[in-house]
């Protein structure tokens, strides 16, 4: 039982720290500024090209095949340097890795991993949120293609994506969980219309909706077998719940460091309540860092992903919203003298208890799958 670095890990940490000292692009947070997206792709590629991204993924898709504890080191150092977090796309990679055939994996994964291809995920629909399996987007076979018709919403990164992982109904006769299949669909084709959605904090480039009206996917671009869509979706969302997969330890570590620096720079401006709120945000962020160390260590045993992803999603949500509340307090004390970045950080934090599965759904899963309480 040791939280300290092994000699190899310490050497890796030194190399990363030295690289970050020279290569931090100083981007604003995606949760507070649309300008983040102007630099996101080049940040992803730079991190990858320098050997600090995709550490624990298999070598055949461009990863390094290292133990996943290395990802924890990356997150700690990114936060300490005030650098942007690593791109959050592990859930897509895991979905394609687990369900895609060799051809799909070879064609798509290296581009996702090295940052040359941008992807979004078309799962939710206006009438299929928590009840995802009731989705109505159709994919109909026509020769060696599928024609896709439907409306996807709350689609993160639709604005910048070249590809969308679409979940669609291929067998309307089958029970609702069994009639779904997944496709890689090109975004730049007739029949795909993407519209950004403005979030409550005013940012416009993270979130969107996509209308498919006769868009085409090649049959060869189906991910997995016909009818495997639900299982793929469950793989994706279970990884989307994991802070270790998302790299969010770096996000919160950076935000907390910024809050601490703001209070320290001008202590007379802030109240004891601000101090307590920021101290609590420090505690929450540190909890998540240590919790991810525990989870990633458990994977050294080959522990697979189960319902504890819901535990981690709830912990991560509590952290983000504690950081948000500390930021709200700071925004009140700095109103009118600086940009409302703190207010944006707070308002964005409300999404964390919804995206990737609401907190209500996570609690249902914890209660029935972990605590063994009877299904309601």
């Amino acid at each position: 039982m040791d939280f300290a670095d092994s000699p190899e890990e310490a050497a890796f940490r030194r190399r990363l720290r030295a690289w970050l000292a020279e290569n931090n692009p100083g981007l604003p947070a995606s949760s507070t500024s649309d300008a983040y997206w102007d630099g996101q792709a080049s940040w992803h590629q730079a991190l990858y090209d320098a050997g600090f991204f995709a550490l624990s993924w298999p070598e055949e898709i461009g990863g390094q095949g290292l133990p996943s504890v290395y990802e924890a080191i990356v997150d700690e150092e990114l936060a300490a340097a005030g650098a942007p977090p690593r791109p959050s796309l592990g859930y897509l990679v895991q979905g394609l890795l687990r369900h895609g055939g060799d051809d799909v994996k070879r064609r798509f994964l290296p581009g996702i991993v090295n940052g040359r291809d941008r992807w979004c995920q078309g799962f939710s629909e206006p009438d299929a949120g928590s009840d995802l399996a009731s989705l109505r987007t159709r994919a109909e076979r026509r020769g060696d293609e599928y024609v896709i018709t439907g409306h996807k919403v709350w689609t993160s990164y639709s604005d910048s994506a070249a590809w969308c992982l679409v979940l669609a109904r291929t067998d309307p006769e089958a029970p609702k969980h069994r009639g779904l299949s997944a496709f890689a669909v090109r975004m730049d084709q007739p029949g795909v219309e993407q519209r950004p959605l403005k979030m409550v904090n005013g940012i416009t480039r993270e979130f969107g909706e996509v209308v498919f009206d006769g868009a085409v996917a090649r049959a060869a671009d189906m991910i997995g077998e016909p009818g495997e869509g639900w299982r793929l979706a469950m793989t994706v969302v279970s990884h989307e719940r994991e802070p270790g997969e998302l790299g969010y330890v770096a996000r919160y570590g950076k935000a907390v460091n910024e809050l601490v620096a703001r209070l320290r720079a001008e202590p007379e401006r802030f109240s004891s309540e601000n101090v307590r709120d920021v101290a609590w945000a420090v505690v929450e962020a540190e909890m998540l860092r240590l919790h991810v160390c525990r989870r990633l260590s458990d994977r050294l045993d080959g522990v697979s992903h189960g319902p504890e992803g819901s535990v981690d999603k709830l912990l991560m949500t509590w952290v983000e919203q504690a950081v948000g509340h500390a930021a709200l307090g700071v925004s009140e004390r700095t109103a009118g003298i600086e940009e409302d970045t703190w207010l944006k950080m707070y308002l964005y934090s409300r999404a964390q208890s919804v995206m990737g599965g609401t907190s209500q759904i996570q609690r249902n899963l914890v209660a029935t799958r972990i605590l063994g309480l009877p299904a309601s």
Binding site: M1, V275, M287, L290, D301, T368, I370, L373
Partner: protein, 347 residues
């Protein structure tokens, strides 16, 4: 980094869990069963776990703080009503002062608010305070001022006084002269006491994690059998969501508590105390909410003396108060980051 428990640590955890399950109180009525409590005390004495922090080779402890925390967590989960924390904290204090091990069952003497060690003006001067965790204990260690820091003194402990915790009684000590330890000892510096405090706070976190785990188990089993509207109350989402939150709080608490225990033996005193402060703020806030949830899920029964839920809450309240709770530790976190608060630790 690999924070999995070793196979030896897992075996220790299993043994401690068995001891607590076999001989700990399974009902409030059993708390009054002296024969059972005596068996638990004898069994714990036979394990040698009260001596985990006595010196082995050189001045290193027999076992790490992680091992001590593993035992503390399982004893907390099982509401073990025998002394462990007190003797462990006393042994740690003696080890840090390079004093010989205790010859009689010993705990520590704290100020009446339990926030720090009691301090006498010197050996022979009157010494007062509250001795904690005194089941079977006859002596308590306190500090006395000497040139260059503090030295260890003892006071006798008699009887017990009311405690909020029904599993770990306390005893008031009012003004007996402090007795210098026989043999030689090294004066304790502020850093020594800071390091000791980090260890103690980490152990209180482990006890909190255990106590709240036990409360969640108690409430889940009740929710599975208690029927209303013709069905188990655990099938209602309102009850499920409270218990889910409680479980999540326990998991977050385990992660910070484990780190604090590791840090106590590994990091410099200031960093170890920061790790402990983060853990205590988190665990103490979680523990009160989790134990309150356990009472709520038990409904009217949860508000009666006979229900074990309040025994978990009471144990958590004492572990929270020991060496400071949420507010004191958030202050420490803030002070270390130079954003306010008050610097922690005994100075």
């Amino acid at each position: 980094m690999d924070v999995r428990l070793s196979s030896e640590q897992q075996a220790l955890r299993d043994a401690a869990a068995r001891l607590a399950d076999d001989l700990g109180p399974k009902s409030v009525a059993e708390l009054g069963d002296g024969a059972r409590a005596a068996k638990l005390d004898t069994a714990l004495e036979a394990t040698g776990w009260r001596e985990l922090r006595t010196p082995a080779d050189g001045n290193r402890p027999l076992a790490s703080a992680v091992e001590a925390a593993i035992v503390a967590e399982e004893l907390g989960r099982g509401l073990a009503d025998t002394s462990f924390l007190g003797p462990t904290l006393a042994a740690e204090l003696r080890r840090r002062a390079s004093a010989p091990p205790a010859t009689v069952p010993e705990t520590v003497l704290l100020t009446p608010d339990l926030s720090r060690l009691a301090v006498a003006g010197g050996a022979g001067e009157p010494c007062s305070g509250t001795a904690i965790d005194v089941q079977g204990i006859t002596s308590a260690l306190a500090l006395a001022e000497v040139a260059g820091g503090h030295e260890l003194v003892t006071v006798p402990v008699y009887g017990t006084s009311p405690s909020r915790d029904l599993t770990r009684p306390a005893a008031e000590v009012s003004g007996p002269p402090a007795v210098r330890l026989p043999g030689t000892q090294t004066p304790l510096s502020a850093a020594d006491i800071e390091g000791w405090t980090a260890f103690v706070v980490a152990l209180t976190c482990a006890d909190l994690v255990g106590t709240m785990r036990g409360a969640v188990e108690l409430a889940c089993s009740y929710a599975g059998v208690r029927q209303q509207y013709g069905t188990a109350i655990g099938s209602f989402q309102s009850v499920q969501h409270m218990l889910a939150d409680a479980h999540v709080s326990v998991e977050g608490s385990r992660s910070v508590a484990l780190h604090a225990a590791w840090a106590a033996d590994t990091l410099p005193a200031g960093e170890a105390l920061d790790a402990a402060a983060v853990a205590k703020a988190y665990c103490a806030r979680a523990a009160r909410a989790v134990c309150e949830t356990a009472i709520q899920v038990h409904g009217g029964i949860g508000n009666t003396w006979e229900c074990l839920a309040h025994v978990h809450l009471r144990r958590a309240l004492l572990s929270t108060q020991l060496l400071g709770g949420v507010g004191a530790h958030l202050d420490r976190v803030a002070a270390r980051r130079e954003i306010g608060g008050v610097p922690g630790g005994l100075r």
